[in-house]
Symmetry: C2
C-alpha cells in the first residue's frame, strides 16, 4: 500500500498500457530488476498495530496520511493498512486461505511506464494479474500481480515518495 | 527464513534467555528499532518460484544453500522456502486462515542476546510468541513472534550473513 496523499501536481501522461518497448524480449519491455521498496501489513485494528510497531522503536512518518501508517523499518518502508481495504486495493478475496495472506510487497518504480512494464513482465513470467495498473486517489499509479504461489506484489509509482536506485524510498515527514 | 549452512565456527555462548538488561523499561532490555532485513515467501514449488523471480531480474546468491533460495531484492533479501517448512519453522499451523499468511518478515540482529531482547520486547508490546529462539541447524539463532494481527516476524542472528547498521544483509556468493 503506497497510499498517501500526494502534494505534487504530477502530470505524467497516461502510458499506452505498457506496450512493447524497443528493447527486451519479444513483447516484454526491458525493466530494472524487481526489488522490495515497501511492505504493507493488512491489519484489523490500525491503532493497535501502530502502537505495537511504535513500541518496537519504529519511526512513523507521513503522519498527515489518514487511515494508513508508514514507518521507516531499516532499508524498507513498513506500512499498515486495514486488511479489507488492502484486499480490495489488491483485487483479491480477503477470506480465502492461500488466496491472500494479508500482506503485499511493493516494488516502487520511477515512472508509470515502468509500472506497466513490470506488471507485464511478471505475468509473462507466470504471475497472475490481480488488478491492472491505474491512477490512484493518492496521486500515484499502481497495480497488483500475484506470484505463482499467490503472494501479492504491488507495483507502484508514487511521486510523493522519492525513490533511490536500489528501490529504497525516502519518506516525507 | 534465514536458513543457510554457516561456514563459521561460531562460538557465541547461549544467552540467559534474554534476561533484563541495565537499560530500558522495566524488564525489557534496550534494543535497536525493529527493521526488515529479509522476507521469506512460503512456496509450494521451489523451482517454479525460483524461475519466476529469476525472470524478474533478481540475482540469486548463496547457491550452495539447498532447499531454499536467496535473492538480492534491492535493499532487502527475498528468500523462497517451502511453505510447510516455513510454517514448521515459525511454529504455526499452515492451513488456518488468519493464522499464517505464508510469509515471514525477518529482522536480523547482530547477536543472540539482541534476538532474545527483541522477542521479549515484541511480546511485551502485545505480540504473540510463536517459537522461542533457539540455535538453528544453519549455525545461527532465531525465534518467531506474531504481531497483533498474526503477521509472523522471524528475529534472527545469522553469523554467515554480515549485517549493516540499517538491517541490510550482505549475501555471500
Amino acid at each position: 500500500m503506497n497510499t498517501a496523499e500526494n502534494t505534487d501536481d504530477e502530470t505524467v501522461p497516461f502510458p499506452n498500457g505498457g506496450g512493447a518497448g524497443p528493447a527486451g524480449r519479444a513483447g516484454v519491455r526491458a525493466v530494472p530488476p524487481l526489488h522490495v521498496s515497501l511492505i504493507t501489513l493488512g491489519v484489523v485494528d490500525l491503532e493497535r498495530a501502530i502502537l505495537f510497531y511504535e513500541a518496537l522503536g519504529l519511526t512513523r512518518r507521513v503522519r498527515k496520511a489518514e487511515g494508513v501508517a508508514f514507518f521507516e523499518a531499516g532499508a524498507v518502508v513498513l506500512s499498515l493498512y486495514p486488511r479489507h481495504e488492502l484486499a480490495a486495493d489488491a483485487g483479491v478475496v480477503p477470506g480465502r486461505a492461500g488466496q491472500f495472506g494479508g500482506i503485499a510487497i511493493a516494488c516502487n518504480r520511477s515512472s508509470r511506464g515502468e509500472v506497466d512494464a513490470t506488471l507485464i513482465r511478471a505475468v509473462a513470467a507466470g504471475g497472475r494479474a490481480l488488478r491492472p495498473a491505474q491512477a490512484t486517489f493518492w496521486g500515484g499509479y499502481s497495480g497488483y500481480v500475484a506470484d505463482p504461489d499467490g503472494h501479492a506484489w504491488e507495483v507502484a509509482h508514487n511521486p510523493g515518495f522519492p525513490l533511490g536506485p536500489d528501490g529504497r524510498l525516502s519518506l516525507p515527514e
